[in-house]
């Protein structure tokens, strides 16, 4: 191939986008905050601490999330579960749970480390604060309400998209069936078992269509 051919070929994408931007509506940027972009399934947003349907907390205070955290931004302390009024099933519950969102790199390792699927991530990402103290999320901010809804730090903020908190990030388990024909129609993208779940794996026909 001649040098010029390769050169033009390389510019093809650039040219296409340029034409689209100038003459069409193919803007690459969005007019945030008037417009919100649809986030990808696997988007890692703010964390949420889940509950079981009976209202029990899933967190058992095992500190595995803190151990897995590469930014060391999670601080957990466990305590003996009061037998008369248990907070979580089992012997132990997490009575201190803090995430320093300034340090968090949203890698999701805490979600993978969690043995009870207590901590998951949502799609909420507008979490900037005016002071450092507010960036430390405690159990109070992170924990799902008994009715299953997730508290928002600034619910009155015009930017607050409460629905994002109800959207769990997509989570590909090591054993996920995706790609194997036998799992056609089976839920593949495991929405982290937070407040939402995902559609099943599309069939080949659906994919082709």
């Amino acid at each position: 191939m001649s040098g010029l051919g390769a050169f033009l070929r390389g510019l093809r994408v650039t040219g296409k986008v340029m034409v689209n931007t100038v003459f069409g509506d193919g803007l690459v940027t969005t007019k945030y905050p008037q417009e919100f972009r649809q986030k990808p399934q696997r988007f890692h947003g703010r964390h949420v601490l889940n509950r079981y349907p009976d209202g029990m907390e899933k967190c058992i205070g095992c500190e595995l999330c803190a151990g897995a955290c590469p930014a060391r931004c999670i601080y957990v302390r466990g305590r003996d579960n009061p037998s008369d009024e248990p907070v979580s099933p089992g012997e132990r519950y997490g009575y201190v749970y803090e995430i320093n969102m300034l340090r968090c790199i949203f890698c999701g390792l805490c979600v993978e480390a969690c043995p009870t699927e207590a901590i998951t991530m949502t799609h909420l990402f507008e979490i900037s604060t005016a002071n450092r103290r507010d960036a430390i999320y405690t159990r109070q901010e992170l924990l799902m309400r008994p009715d299953g809804s997730v508290p928002h730090m600034f619910p009155d903020d015009p930017l607050a998209q409460l629905a994002e908190l109800d959207t769990a990030d997509g989570w590909l388990r090591a054993t996920a069936p995706s790609g194997v024909a036998a799992y056609e129609g089976v839920q593949a993208w495991q929405g982290t078992p937070g407040p939402a779940s995902w559609a099943p794996e599309p069939t080949q026909d659906e994919r082709d269509a």
Binding site: E63, G67, G78, E91
Partner: protein
């Protein structure tokens, strides 16, 4: 009985070396050593759960199966129960051995709950580690696991989760073989075998915490550490136990600047990884919310107000200077619980700044400082292992010197030493004693004279060496000079001595000169000052006006607590350096907060003269400061600077100035795992022993008081630890049935116990093992006034 019946597998390790081949590597090992140990010493780790180097093998877990070549082909043997033999050829990694090990792990895991995330052992669990290293990867077990009630409380300190238990018998062996309180055992059989206590009998052992440390899974967990942290967020630093004089090596573990756990370190010289519960769980005071965080000055109305360091130090300096310059008496009490560096600073401060020799780190409950510090023929703890005869004539070791108790027990039980036990009453070592003599406190000298003059089994036993004697005061009714007289006798027999005293660093403090008659380095002073009892009397009668208390609580700790209270109330000016407001520091005029154990670095000296390091793990609370820095500051303000700049600088000064400690630097202590035994200047320290028939205190009463300590009492460090504060047995008066009947008392009655120094109303307990004419009252129990050191006692029905 167990020691007899298991004799067959008690291997005696000899000198002779044999050639063994393990995994193709040939090496020499002492004949009789267990294969698992020999292999480990030469770099081959054989997996194990039940085997523990400090206990006899049981071969129960079967994890250490290896293949051995025999003329009949290869056989599987357990490496923990088979001693090495000449020409042994072992394969630890053959297909068969690996399959057997995998199989055992799979078997162990089929009934093991996978609650690792909430298990205290998770992260430091031998079962987890072995599963990863030797396990099959996945389980084929699809049935329901075995269930038991989740953790049951088997004592105030220990929880048992039988589901997690893998039945390795470590805890049962420990309590049977090592500590001598076989309170947990196997119940049922087969798949339903479980560890449990006997019905209605808690696991009330003084050593129960060790079972938590040696449990290879999370079946035994301690109340104090339960769910407090995970192993991976602990900072671990080695240090030396702050509770008794044995100098037990421990690992202090902290998370987020909070001390959460003590673990025993397997130090050959001292504690072999064992700790008493008082030591193991006696860390909670460090994080107590009652710790003093700022200087306090007492007001006219008796209340304390917080002050700045400047205010407080100015006040102290001016009042002390005033008393000193007026030529009135000043005195110092305490200093035996800190580091050698702080003790050195205190001795220097007292002699150079306060110009006094009225210094005592023992609180009228010990022995002569010369005897304690400068005994030339002092034994090492390890001498117990090679002793033919061991004489214990002193406090109940199990109550007051728990790790020494374990060492004596081991020497008698496993090494065949003979134990001569002399004590007024029942004693923790009774079941192992070859000869047990009881006597009434006060008549010890007569007993000693008899021992010296008469022929008999005991005299014969003592005459046959090597002899090691552990000597101290059996109780506070006992004259301290008796131990010296016994020491003279032991010395005449060629035996070695361990003189016993209380408070963790009392030997170090004496070596640094915290005694009326000793200068730093065990040198005698020309102009001895007053001892603790004389100081208190001096304060009470006004011949001494000022007192500096350093980590001491005379009101609770001196046998005659009433005298101490009067002394503190009468004193013109009292300063306390303390971590807490104690019954004594509450009476002080100024209380200065100090850094305590795990908050400062330094060295300490144990009963055998072994110097070891203590290390800083967490910062002190609030504005607390180390003792030396407070004393240095005061010395400046009092116009006679002692020029101390840091603990390490003091250590360097000690290493050049204090004769016995010359050359003992921190670098050396950090490098030597077991510390350094400081030289005993035999030639320069001739000791004058009292003749054996020196009478003790004379007494004429019908009843004699045996007033001695228990492991758990109302001491300030225990009072501020939630786990230990309830464990004090409480005050009772224990009498023989005949004496009780004569006094018209029956079990459970209230009685007034009265001595010349104090009185208390106590519940009477009748115990058939109590000698006639003897009343036992445990010392320093919550809410009970002290009875003093006069053994003459009257008991009347209340």
């Amino acid at each position: 009985m167990t020691d007899l019946t298991r004799e067959g597998i008690k291997a005696t390790v000899g000198e002779e070396m044999v050639k063994v081949t393990v995994d193709g590597q040939e090496f020499e090992a002492p004949k009789g050593q267990m294969l698992i140990q020999a292999a480990q010493n030469h770099g081959t780790y054989i997996p194990r759960f039940c085997w523990h180097p400090r206990m006899r093998p049981v071969g129960m877990c079967r994890m250490c199966l290896v293949e051995m070549e025999t003329p009949k082909g290869r056989v599987l043997i357990t490496a923990c129960t088979n001693p090495v033999a000449d020409g042994m050829v072992i394969d630890t990694k053959s297909e068969v051995a690996k399959k057997a090990q995998e199989g055992v792990l799979e078997f162990l895991l089929i009934n093991h709950p996978l609650d690792c995330p909430v298990c205290d052992r998770g992260g430091e669990c031998p079962l987890q580690d072995h599963t990863i290293a030797y396990g099959p990867g996945e389980s084929r077990f699809v049935e329901e696991k075995r269930h038991f009630e989740k953790p049951i409380k088997i004592s105030d300190l220990v929880y048992l989760d039988r589901e997690r238990c893998i039945l390795c018998a470590r805890c049962t062996r420990f309590s049977d073989e090592v500590s001598g309180d076989p309170l947990i055992e196997f119940l049922d059989r087969g798949n339903f075998t479980q560890i449990n206590t006997f019905p209605d009998q808690p696991f009330a052992s003084y050593f129960s915490g060790n079972t938590v440390q040696i449990c290879p899974v999370g079946a035994l967990t301690s109340k104090a550490y339960r769910f407090r942290a995970r192993p991976w967020d602990l900072v671990s630093i080695e240090s030396t136990c702050p509770h008794c004089t044995t100098g037990d090596r421990i690992t202090v573990q902290a998370s987020q600047n909070e001390v959460l756990r003590f673990l025993g370190v397997d130090a050959e010289a001292t504690n072999w990884s064992w700790l008493s519960d008082k030591c193991r769980f006696g860390f909670e005071f460090i994080e107590s919310p009652d710790r003093l965080t700022s200087p306090m000055i007492r007001q006219e109305d008796g209340s304390f107000t917080e002050a700045t360091w400047t205010e407080a130090l100015e006040l102290v300096a001016s009042r002390f200077t005033e008393i000193r310059d007026a030529g009135k008496g000043l005195a110092v009490l305490g200093g035996a619980r800190g580091t050698n560096e702080d003790a050195y600073a205190l001795a220097k401060f007292a002699r150079e700044v306060l110009s006094t020799n009225n210094i005592d780190c023992q609180l009228d409950d010990g022995l002569d400082p010369q005897f304690l510090a400068a005994t030339a023929d002092r034994a090492r703890i390890s001498d117990l292992d090679s002793a033919r005869t061991i004489l214990v004539w002193g406090p109940d070791l199990k109550e007051e010197h728990p790790t020494l108790y374990l060492r004596v027990r081991h020497a008698v039980q496993e090494k065949g030493a003979r134990l001569v036990l002399i004590h007024p009453w029942r004693n923790g070592l009774d079941d192992r004693a070859t000869h047990k003599l009881t006597y009434r406190p006060g008549s010890g000298a007569a007993l000693l004279t008899r021992l010296q003059s008469e022929e008999g089994e005991v005299a014969t036993a003592l005459a046959e060496g090597p002899l090691v004697a552990l000597l101290g005061r059996t109780g506070y009714g006992e004259d301290g000079r008796l131990a010296e007289a016994v020491a003279a006798h032991v010395r005449s027999l060629g035996g070695k001595l361990l003189p016993l005293a209380r408070r963790s660093n009392v030997y170090g403090a004496l070596d640094m000169g915290l005694a009326p008659s000793l200068a730093p380095g065990r040198a005698t002073t020309d102009n001895p000052g007053k001892n603790a009892a004389q100081i208190l009397e001096g304060l009470a009668e006004g011949s001494i006006l000022g007192l500096l208390m350093v980590g001491s609580d005379p009101v609770r700790d001196v046998p005659n607590g009433e005298l101490a209270r009067q002394a503190l109330e009468q004193a013109r000016f009292v300063v306390a350096l303390d971590q807490f407001l104690t019954d004594s520091s509450r009476l002080a005029d100024v209380v200065l907060p100090v850094e305590g154990f795990a908050e400062k670095e330094g060295s300490v000296t144990n009963v055998e003269g072994r110097v070891q390091k203590v290390n800083r793990v967490v910062p002190g609370p609030g504005q607390s400061r180390p003792d030396w820095s407070i004393l240095d500051d005061l010395s400046d303000r009092m116009g006679r600077s002692i020029n101390l700049v840091s603990a390490e600088a003091i250590a360097k000064e000690i290493a050049t100035e204090v004769p016995a400690y010359v050359g003992v630097t921190w670098d050396m202590l950090d490098a030597e795992k077991d510390g350094v035994v400081v030289p005993l200047p035999e030639a320069t320290q001739p000791l004058v022993y009292l003749p054996a028939d020196t009478p003790g205190k004379s007494f004429s009463g019908e009843l004699v008081l045996h007033y001695a300590r228990t492991m758990f009492d109302d001491g300030v460090l225990m009072r501020h630890g939630p786990s230990l504060e309830h464990l004090a047995p409480g005050a009772v008066a224990i009498l023989n049935f005949d004496d009780a009947r004569r006094l018209g008392l029956s079990d459970g009655d209230q009685a007034d116990i009265k001595t010349s120094q104090g009185s208390a109303r106590l519940t009477v307990r009748i115990d058939p093992s109590m000698n006639h004419g003897l009343v036992y009252v445990p010392f320093n129990q919550p809410g009970i006034p002290s009875l003093g050191s006069d053994p003459v006692v009257t008991v009347t029905k209340a």
